[in-house]
Subunit: 334 residues, 2 copies
Amino acid sequence: MVTLKQLAKELNVSISTVSKALNNSEEIGEETVRRVKELAELYNYRPNKVALSLKNNKTKTIGVIIPNILNRFLAKVLFGIEREAAEHGYNIITCISNESLQKEKDSLQLLGNGSVDGFILSVAEESQINNEVEHFKNTIKQGLPIVMFDRVAHDVLCDKVIVDDFDATYNATKSLIEEGRGRIVFISNIDDISVGKLRERGYNKAILETGRLEPLVLKVKKKDDHPKKIKSFFKKNNSIDGIIAADSSSGIIALNTAVNFGLKVPKDISVIAFASKSDSNHTLPKLTTIRQHAKIIGAHAAQVLISRMQNTLTEEDVKTKIVKTSLVKNKSTL
Amino acid sequence: MVTLKQLAKELNVSISTVSKALNNSEEIGEETVRRVKELAELYNYRPNKVALSLKNNKTKTIGVIIPNILNRFLAKVLFGIEREAAEHGYNIITCISNESLQKEKDSLQLLGNGSVDGFILSVAEESQINNEVEHFKNTIKQGLPIVMFDRVAHDVLCDKVIVDDFDATYNATKSLIEEGRGRIVFISNIDDISVGKLRERGYNKAILETGRLEPLVLKVKKKDDHPKKIKSFFKKNNSIDGIIAADSSSGIIALNTAVNFGLKVPKDISVIAFASKSDSNHTLPKLTTIRQHAKIIGAHAAQVLISRMQNTLTEEDVKTKIVKTSLVKNKSTL
């Protein structure tokens, strides 16, 4: 594909002359216009999309910034964004912040310089810890709308799509209490991010409300040997009869560990985890799951951003949409 | 952030005048240069990266095209590309082709128009089935190098990073034969892509080489109820004592199904699957896995592309790098 620059070189004129000639500018002489157009046709010149976008400020492209591509939930949200955007004729380009504030800033600048019309993002862990929001505010001031999902910055005035994390574990824990479970453990390997904390609070509330049960919490760190840690927790704490897992990995390992201890699931112990349908296919008995509807979250985020970019939403309209989780009962609960 | 356009408007001159003034062009009068520079400083103008890239053709950005973001292997390769590129000061922007030829073409065009210096990609299923390669060839002709990984187009002359799929299942199957297993099943839910076919061939070779064993193959389709299908296969085929799974999901489900049938793993039956370390943490006993070293594949691809973009590789140099799998023995084999 030939560029403006190459055409200019071959014709021995400036790039802006070529550009103006192709756009029939009156500044350029007829003969030059003719020469430029002939050569452009000969080489099958197509205007560069990026250059066009600099000019008319519409790229029909959405920038997505994902903190961690190995997180299955985030990957599924991205899938949902992609599918919804494609239906509306939008392209997606994605950057990964790797939980780093600097990479998040870099990504906003890289894509914000003419490549995209707006952003969908989930906030990096480092930005959350430092409560840094200026880069988001600056992007919005530049005229590029942002939709945040899952991990959001409450101090930024923009559209948001979130999950009811607190209610989800509150309700799941209550369902185990109603089964008659009395030694319910909360297991989490996502204690360091906001949604992990919300999930723990929902569990605590349900436990403390009973007035008789006590919270029993196991936090697993990234570097731990997860199966070993969970196994030794089971050994130390007798008569555990319920598990609420804040993440799928903890849930799957806890279920397998219980089976390995000779416990009957769900006769002796019930297990519920934030997990996907395919995760529940990976355990026997099938895991009862709290489903986050990641693809729907992605689709909502794309819809809101597209409306915002098409100016069908007004500024006073800034909204937070809650996508409710579902408790999908399988064979790991009564 | 102020743009060239806004500066031009405020000063009532053309955009190219502003641009030339900022670059000290002799075409522009001294007074105009002074006015432009003053206003640019007042507004803290920073040159637009995309505009710069149009000019000097270096974006320090790599475009990655991934066929399916829900595929964990591909997500990990992306992670590896990201990390390696960051170490060399390169940004990554990613498009998802969703296994579609058209989206793959669109992505090459979207990013190829000045946003990136080169591409790393894995070929979409549809492109593989139709054996379409012209879009890759055109991109390379435009001067944008491509590195392909995992699913590659053999008819395109470019750098490639692949996995030894054939050898991996050949060796894994042989290891089960050496354990004394005689009824070894090959289970796959990725029969429709090239690597799935290669894995099956490796298995078949090892089985047929014995001169006494017969291939036993179970293909699971995306729409099937995987646990149900695998369970009924176990019921129909007695005395299965070995499993080679082409994908982690089939391997995990097969192991659980065997346990559920009262079989002792690995006393009665051995299981090996293409899977990750975290997958093997998700089964009891821990799954013996064929590891693909996805992050290393990503890192290699990034290294090769960066060398190519920096012209430290010559054209005759086009290479295919094979990243060997490892058979990591855990507790699901003898």
